[in-house]
Structures are given as C-alpha cells and as structure tokens.
Amino acid sequence: MAVAAPPGGAAGPGGGRRRVNGDVVLALDHVTMQFGGLKAVAELDLEVGRGELVGLIGPNGAGKTTVFNLITGVYTPTHGRILFQGHPIQGLKPHVIAKRGITRTFQNIRLFASRCCRDNVCIAEHVHARAGLLDAVLRTPRFARDEAAMRERADQLLALMGLDAWADVRAAELPYGQQRRLEIARALAGQPSLLLLDEPAAGLNPQESDELMHLIEEVRRRFELTILLIEHDMRVVMGICRRIAVLDYGVKIAEGTPAQIRTDRAVIEAYLGEDVHADLGA
C-alpha cells in the first residue's frame, strides 16, 4: 500500500486529502450528505485546481450526482463546507451559485423543450443581463444592446458545438447527441469558471464519444475552464481526465492519475473489474 503521498504525487489511501498545484478553485471539506438514515456522501474531501479536468467515477448510487447537487446548491450538506475560489458556498441557492460561476449539465437531459436552441443558450446568459424589467418593457437602447450581445454569444457557442444549423429548431426535436451538445453549450453560456458535466457521453456511440472528448478538451482550453466530470465511459474518463476521484457508497475510495486508478485494488474490486485493464491498454 502506498505511503503518504508527496504533493502532486501518487494516489494516497482512499479518502486522503490531496494538495493540488496552483489555485484551488473548488474545495470540498469533510462534506457529508445524509438523507434520513442514508449517507449519500460521507466525509468527502476533494480539491480541484484551476484549469484541471478531474473525473468523478464510481458505481451507480455512489453519490456522484449528489456531489454535483451539493456543489450547485440543490442540496445543503448535512456537515462540511464547500469552498469555491476560497469562499464558502454551501447553503446558497442554485441561481446564486450559477451567478458566481459554476454551471452544470444534467444526467437526464433537462433542456427547455419548447424553446429553440438559441433561446436555450440565451436563457443561460440571463445571469449577466444588465437590462432590467423596465428596460425590457420600454425597449431602451440598453435592452437592445443586451439582447444583441446575448444573441451573438449564443450563436457563437452554437457554432462551436456544431449546432448552428439547429439554432431555430425546438430543443425537443433535436437528435439525442445534439441535445447533449446543446446542454453543454447552454452551460457554457453563463461564462462559468467551473463546469460540471454529468455523464455527457451517456448514450453516445464510440465515434460520438471521441468527438465529445475532443470538444471538452477544446472547450477547457479556449474558455480556461476548470471541469469536473462524471462519466461511466472509461475511455472518455481515462482519455481526458488528469486526475480521477473514485466514489463508492458515498465514500472516496481512491484518488489519483488515470494510471494509478487503473491499477488501484480497491477501485478494481468496487467498480472497474479485472477485464478493464485490457480494454484500456489502447
């Protein structure tokens, strides 16, 4: 078993705190989420550094989406603190947290079905709207400027995601793969500094997953994002994540680089299984 890890080094024993290099954008400090008798998340310590792409993996029911819900303010942790850029955010309402710069996609796609793609993206820009209600009703120049800027940004994001042809199409009518991309475009529209992606590759075929991987990488570079990613598709996880944390029954059982996680005994038993080695050789 590995000894206490040097900073930036190998994986520690499951649950240990790891120091990251550079700025810590997100820090979970002994975060616990208890629903009645069930501990969905137990004493989770996690840090994510600026610009990192960190993966969060584990079996179904391990608490990964709960972690996202905790970070985004859907739940308030029973114990512990969540720090974003040094400030505690636990207990804040979701829209406040979004305004501070954390956005997300959802495991079960939650698009605004009746609106067109452009509107879906524009809604996410609401956080940065400067024109108030009165401006909207009186149609002031400030309102016109705001709307034009929003529309332009939305079109740019749609183009980046390859969705510009669908800009005026109702979100409900998009093919599945495009819907996933739209969710990402929407999450980007709020100009976040931290992006949470919940199983973005779910339901995609291998070629689509490959495209997604490149897209995520590019997005991270271009917008200087920090990304936290939940995924079951190990090719995607091992492919783009610099670091991976593994949850099982709400407890972090391992954390480290893809190479370390791949060989971690506890992780293999709980989740990956023996055969994964061969698959991930490529």
Partner: protein, 333 residues
C-alpha cells in the same frame, strides 16, 4: 421620434373609435364589445401566470374582485369629488373623469398586485395541482370576505359607481397588457419565465431566480386582473360578489387554454370568442352552461394545445422585436 409618433397615432385611433363606436353600434353590441375588451385583459394577464410561467393559478376572479372593489371605493370616496372639483374649475368632464378613473384603476391594480404577492409568495413552493387548489381557495376567501364586509356593500352589492369607463380606457388597458406581455416574451425576463415553465430545476441551475420570477408573474398578472376589475366596476356601475365566483375564474382559464397556453394572440382571440359565445347562446339560456361545459371537455379532448399552441400570430410587416421572430406560425419548427 418614430416611437413617439406611433404612440400618438395609436392614441388617436383609440379616441376616434371611442367617439365613433357608440354611433354605429347599438348599446347591446357596444356592451358586448366592452366586455370583450375586459375579458381580453383578464385572459392575457392570466396567460402571464399560467401560460408563460406554467403556474396553476385558478383563482383569478379573486384578483379581479380586489381591483374592482378597490377602484370603486377610491372613486366613490375620493375620485368623484376630485372630478367634480376639477370640472368646477372649467376642466372638461372627459379629462377630469378620465384622470379620476386612471387613478382609481391604478389603485385597484396596485391592491390586486399586492394580493397577488401575498398569495404567490407562500404558495410558490407547492407543486402544480396543490398550487391550483391554494389559488382556488384564496379566490373563494376573497369573495367570502367581500360578502361579509359591510363597507363595500357585503351581499347587497355596491351601487352607484361613477360610470367612467369608455372604449378608450378599455383599449388602453388592452394595449398595456398585450404590449407588456409581448415585450416581456421577447426579452431575457420572458425567457426566464418560459424556462421556469419548461424545467424549473434547470432554470435555477442556470442562474434564474425562480422564486422572484414566479412572484413577478403573479404580481403582474394580478395587477392587470385588477385593472380589468376596475374597468368593469366603472362600466357596470354596480358590483356584486357573485360576479367573481370560481365560475368566473374558470371562464378566464378556459380562454387562456382555448387560445393556447403561452400565446398572447391566442388569449386575445379566445377571450373574444368566449365572450361572444355565451351572448350568442343567451337565447338558449337553459342550455348555455351545458353547452359551455361540453365545449370545454371536447376542446381538451381533441385539441388540448388550444387554437394557437404556444405560437404567436405574426404580422409580416410588424416592427421587428429585438430578437428575430421564430419561424412563421404556419411553418412551425
């Protein structure tokens, strides 16, 4: 400059209609027209709550009642004295009465808006059908309260309200609520409302303060319901609590649903149709409600999205809103 000219032109048209209509229409048709206008204001205001924001409010008659009685009381105790005083110093009666009416309407609307706030704020964390029941309950409570307050006439009703409502003012009310709704719809605030309707969790996660916007929809919707109530009070010259029962709320809901939830033009169209229809059926008084209820059922069973769905009627030559229009209604996408 162009906008100012347009506004003046619109006002001129309204004044023209106001003067011309009584000459061309007999009093009965004129009355139906006025009631149509008031129904339009009610339907478009409810559309803000039920259509745009997807909230189940089924007590709208209560807000109308608050506005009606509120504005009536202002006129009876304050307004008509001011109007008389102004007329006494030589200001034409039309202007004096118009000003007094405006004050009364705004007061009634403000009271109704406050009622909307009081109803909306605690109820908004309730799930859909529960919210419906609470709004229904509040609507009935408001009516029961009115029936028991002596100062507003209780069960005998409130007579003698100065009959100051003219087509001009109904037109102003209609324009105000329609323009507000359309401009709201094509703005980030309107998009926030639609987002709440489609997926409240996602909207909140993307930065929309859902509570604030739901309350906003309620307050705006109830404010205009109050305006409609005030216009009705100063047209009918008499108010009775039985004009504001649950049935009235249902009638307004039927208009919004028939028009298509979320469609402003749909609400306008449906309000006109559903105001004229009972009048046309007046001869078959006995059968009126039966036909009405059958119509509701058949409508829901065959075309629940209403006449317009959630689309708007687009004029090709219309002034472009800040965001370009969606594909034309016929194309649909």
């Amino acid at each position: 400059m162009a906008r100012l000219l347009r506004a003046v032109a619109v006002l001129a048209v309204l004044v023209g209609l106001d003067l011309a209509l009584p000459r061309f229409l007999n009093p009965y048709y004129l009355r139906v027209l006025m009631l149509c206008g008031i129904s339009v204001i009610l339907a478009v205001s409810l559309n803000l709550i039920n259509g745009f924001t997807g909230q189940f409010s089924i007590g709208h008659a209560g807000f109308m009642a608050v506005g009606a009685y509120g504005s009536a009381m202002v006129s009876l105790h304050v307004g008509q004295h001011w109007a008389a005083a102004l007329a006494g110093v030589g200001i034409p009666a039309v202007i004096a009465q118009g000003a007094a009416l405006l004050v009364a309407l705004l007061a009634g609307g403000a009271l109704a808006g406050i009622a909307g706030y009081l109803v909306g704020l605690p109820s908004l964390r309730l799930r859909g059908d529960y919210l419906a029941i609470v709004t229904l309950g509040f609507g009935e409570i408001i009516r029961v309260l009115i029936t028991n307050i002596e100062a507003v006439g209780a069960a005998r009703g409130l007579p003698g309200i100065p009959p100051w409502t003219t087509f001009f003012w109904v037109g102003i009310g209609m324009l105000a609520v329609i323009v507000l709704s359309l401009r709201l719809a094509n703005s980030t605030h309107g998009r926030a409302l639609f987002a709440i309707r489609d997926d409240e969790v996602a909207a909140e996660a993307l930065g929309v303060d859902t509570t604030r916007y739901k309350v906003l929809a309620f307050v705006l919707g109830s404010f205009f319901a109050g305006i409609a109530g005030g216009l009705f009070a100063h047209y009918n010259a008499y108010l009775h609590p039985n004009s504001f029962t649950f049935i009235k709320s249902i009638e307004v809901i039927a208009m919004v649903v028939l028009g298509g939830l979320g469609s402003v033009s749909g609400s306008v169209l449906a309000a006109i149709v559903l105001t004229i229809l009972p009048e046309a059926l007046r001869s078959a008084q006995e059968w009126r409600m039966v036909i009405y209820s059958l119509m509701l059922i058949i409508l829901m069973v065959t075309r629940p999205q209403g006449l317009m769905g959630s689309r708007e009627f687009r004029w090709p030559w219309r002034h472009r809103p800040a965001a370009p229009p969606a594909p034309a209604a016929g194309g649909g996408a």
